[in-house]
């Protein structure tokens, strides 16, 4: 009985040692991976900052107004004026949808239902 217990303990210790050994390396790998990801996120963040700076640089008002002037033939953009404001109720209403189009579908549906009812009977 006793020897079985000792044998079992020895096996358990070996198994635990193996498990701890593996965990140790897994931890080290995870830490390395985390460091690598941190570096990569940092690098990407820096790249995003550069892109944002470039976006701001390309969208600076000076450049945009130059572009608007250069492309005036095509775009015809002018400064916004007060005339471009309108209240919603001053705008023409959108045309009402054609009632006949919807009606035809409904009639079809009713006819179909009637046919089904007849078949069931």
């Amino acid at each position: 009985m006793r020897s079985v217990f000792f044998l079992f303990s020895a096996l358990a210790v070996m198994a635990l040692a193996f498990w701890a050994y593996r965990e140790n390396y897994a931890t080290q790998n995870a830490a390395r991976e985390a460091a690598r990801l941190t570096r990569e996120i940092g690098r990407l963040n820096e790249a995003i900052a550069v892109q944002r700076a470039e976006w701001a640089w390309l969208n600076r008002p000076d450049r945009l107004s130059e572009l608007v002037e250069a492309n005036f033939d095509r775009l015809g953009l002018m400064p916004m004026t007060a005339n471009q404001f309108a209240r919603i109720h001053d705008l023409p209403m959108p045309l009402p949808p054609d009632p006949a189009a919807g009606l035809a579908e409904e009639i079809d549906a009713v006819v179909e239902l009637a046919a089904e009812a007849e078949e069931a009977l």
Partner: protein, 593 residues
């Protein structure tokens, strides 16, 4: 421990004598000895159990504590840590109120040399001088060969320049990473932002510190490591700023002005939507402060904030507002405007003779110096001073710029009756356009004090009433009349009910007295006048309008049209709905009480 014998003779012999079995004595002693042994063993086992228990509790507590620490730790944004990161190189971005970038950081490299590691100093010096025009080949060669072990060559390199330096192939030339402050919008809002430069420099990184404007004023906030990812949101609107700068620049050129300034401020919160001062500069390459000439003529000088000038007739609204507030007059009260008005040896004159009597409203509409001086006389110097104090004219503004505390208004040393009279029409007290903007905001917004700020306010500030809503409405009405029928007709914009006051102040000579032909033309106003949202101040330095037969310098001909154009352009961009002023139908009389 003394071992007691199991069969002590001293007890065995008397027991034998008594005829008892001595074995019972031995058994008794054995029993006692076993009991003692059992107690000892139990004590030891208990101690071990306790120790083991403690060890387990400690272990689990450690694991639990670590878990708690991990759970409670702030997630940090990973960044590339520069080795030797004792120097704080990062700096938070600055954006406008809509999140458009005004200032950001860009990674770049600095170039330095270890001259002792140079293989061919002569050739290296030659090539470097070819690459960078500011370096001199001979001097560089001398420095490379005089035995020093370290020298800086350039603080910022573009990637192309860096590649070119790499191509020299010299092991003694080295690069250090740098954070560079970039202002992508160039000259736009240059005075607000100020600029940045390097502080403590190391090979691996360098501090970026603000040198002027908001960069300097909020330097600690921008460099706070905990708030690096949170951009500083200013109250500026980049689009409005660009349009105001464009219109003001065009006005300045057309009117041959030496300089110009404009402020657009939210009338209720005091947020500065645009602040322009011309001439301006590029904060990416901030010029050195001038060593000669007037500091006020340097592009670095922020006229909108630091330009402390006599403001002229724009100040006339303050005695009128105060007289209304004190109940001394109402807008229709007639004021004696016969000129010249004598105060001791001093005479007050009007631009023209406006007749013997004018209502308070007409004093403002026609801009009568004599009328304003009379109102100031009715108020008295002490009360006038208290009112201007309330309006913020006696203190520097509290705006978040490092230049603000230096822009202290210039006050008369003693506030005599003569000073009181001249201050009522804008001479004798010098203040900046920023003072004027916040005071006008308080006048027109219903009477609440306004503190100018460059930071976006998401919650409305606590409001402190300084004049009554009724006075504010009367002032608005008078300012609107100045534009519809008075000196500022050129500032009118259909649909936006502009109101305001012109002011033409003769510039003071440095040796004393006033120039005859140099003026500061100012316009302070707001729109839309029925419920003002924005206050606009325009200031032109030495403008001349030469389209007519004679040169015109008054603000009505110079600052007012610029004001009109600014409002025409920015009001739609600010999302203001134009209101077509309807003609009041017959039979209905508008009543105001």
């Amino acid at each position: 421990m003394t071992r007691t014998p199991l069969r002590p003779l001293a007890r065995v012999l008397p027991a034998r004598d008594r005829g008892e079995n001595p074995d019972s004595i031995e058994r008794e002693n054995i029993r006692l000895r076993h009991e003692a042994m059992r107690d000892r063993a139990r004590l030891r086992a208990e101690g071990r159990l306790l120790l083991l228990g403690c060890a387990f509790i400690l272990g689990f507590a450690l694991v639990g504590f670590r878990m708690a620490v991990l759970a409670a730790s702030e997630p940090t944004e990973p960044r590339i840590a520069a080795s030797g990161a004792q120097i704080q190189a990062q700096r938070a971005d600055i954006t406008d109120r809509n999140g458009r970038v005004l200032a950001t950081n860009l990674g770049t490299h600095a170039l330095y040399a270890h001259p002792r590691d140079l293989i061919d100093p002569a050739r290296t010096a030659q090539v470097l001088a070819g690459l960078f025009p500011e370096l001199d080949a001979e001097r560089l060669h001398r420095q490379f060969t005089d035995g020093r072990s370290f020298m800086w060559l350039r603080r910022k390199l573009s990637p192309e320049q860096m590649q070119a330096v790499h191509e020299i192939g010299e092991p003694g030339l080295l690069f250090g990473p740098r954070e560079m402050r970039l202002y992508p919008n160039g000259r736009l809002a240059a005075h607000v932002l100020g600029g940045a430069s390097f502080g403590t420099e190391g090979v691996h990184s360098a501090e970026v510190i603000g040198v002027a404007g908001i960069e300097r004023a909020l330097d600690e906030r921008l460099r706070d490591p905990a708030r690096l990812d949170e951009p500083l949101v200013t109250s500026l609107d980049l689009t409005i700023q660009a349009v105001v700068a464009e219109v003001l620049g065009a006005g300045m050129r057309l009117l041959n002005a030496k300089g110009a300034a404009a402020i657009v401020m939210d009338a209720h919160t005091g947020e500065i939507v645009a602040m322009v001062s011309l001439p301006d500069f590029d904060p990416n390459d901030r010029p050195r402060p001038p060593t000669e000439g007037e500091p006020g003529d340097s592009p670095l000088f922020n006229r909108a904030l630091q330009g402390v000038y006599e403001l002229g007739s724009v100040m006339k609204i303050f005695p009128a507002a105060q007289a209304l507030e004190l109940g001394l007059v109402n807008p229709a009260t007639m004021i004696d405007t016969r000129g010249p008005m004598t105060l001791g040896r001093f005479r007050v004159r009007d631009f023209r003779n406006y007749g013997p009597e004018n209502s308070v409203r007409d004093v403002i509409v026609k801009s009568s110096n004599i009328g304003s001086a009379r109102l100031a006389q009715m108020i008295g110097a002490t009360r006038q001073q208290a009112f201007l104090q309330l309006m913020g004219f006696l203190e520097p503004t509290a705006i978040e710029m490092v230049e603000a505390p230096g822009a202290r208004p210039i006050l008369p040393p003693r506030w005599s009756d003569i000073h009181s009279a001249t201050i009522s029409y804008g001479h004798g007290l010098s203040a900046s356009p920023m003072h004027l903007a916040s005071a006008y905001a308080a006048l027109v917004n219903g009477g609440y004090r306004v503190e100018p700020t460059l930071l976006r306010r998401d919650t409305p500030p606590a409001r402190e009433r300084i004049i009554s809503a009724r006075t504010s409405a009367q002032v608005r009405d008078m300012l609107r009349s100045v534009v519809t029928e008075g000196t500022a007709r050129m500032a009118d914009v259909p649909g936006y009910a502009v109101g305001g006051k012109t002011g033409t102040a003769d510039k003071t000579r440095p040796e004393g007295g006033y120039y005859k032909d140099r003026v500061m033309a100012n316009f302070a106003g707001a729109f839309p006048m029925h419920d003002p949202r924005y206050v606009v101040v325009i200031s032109l330095d030495e403008p001349v309008e030469t389209s007519g037969t004679e040169a015109r310098r008054t603000a009505g001909w110079t600052a007012a049209p610029v004001m009109g154009e600014v409002v025409r352009r920015i009001a739609p961009l600010l999302g203001e709905l134009p209101v077509i002023e309807t003609v009041v139908p017959d039979g209905i009389t508008p009543v105001r009480n």
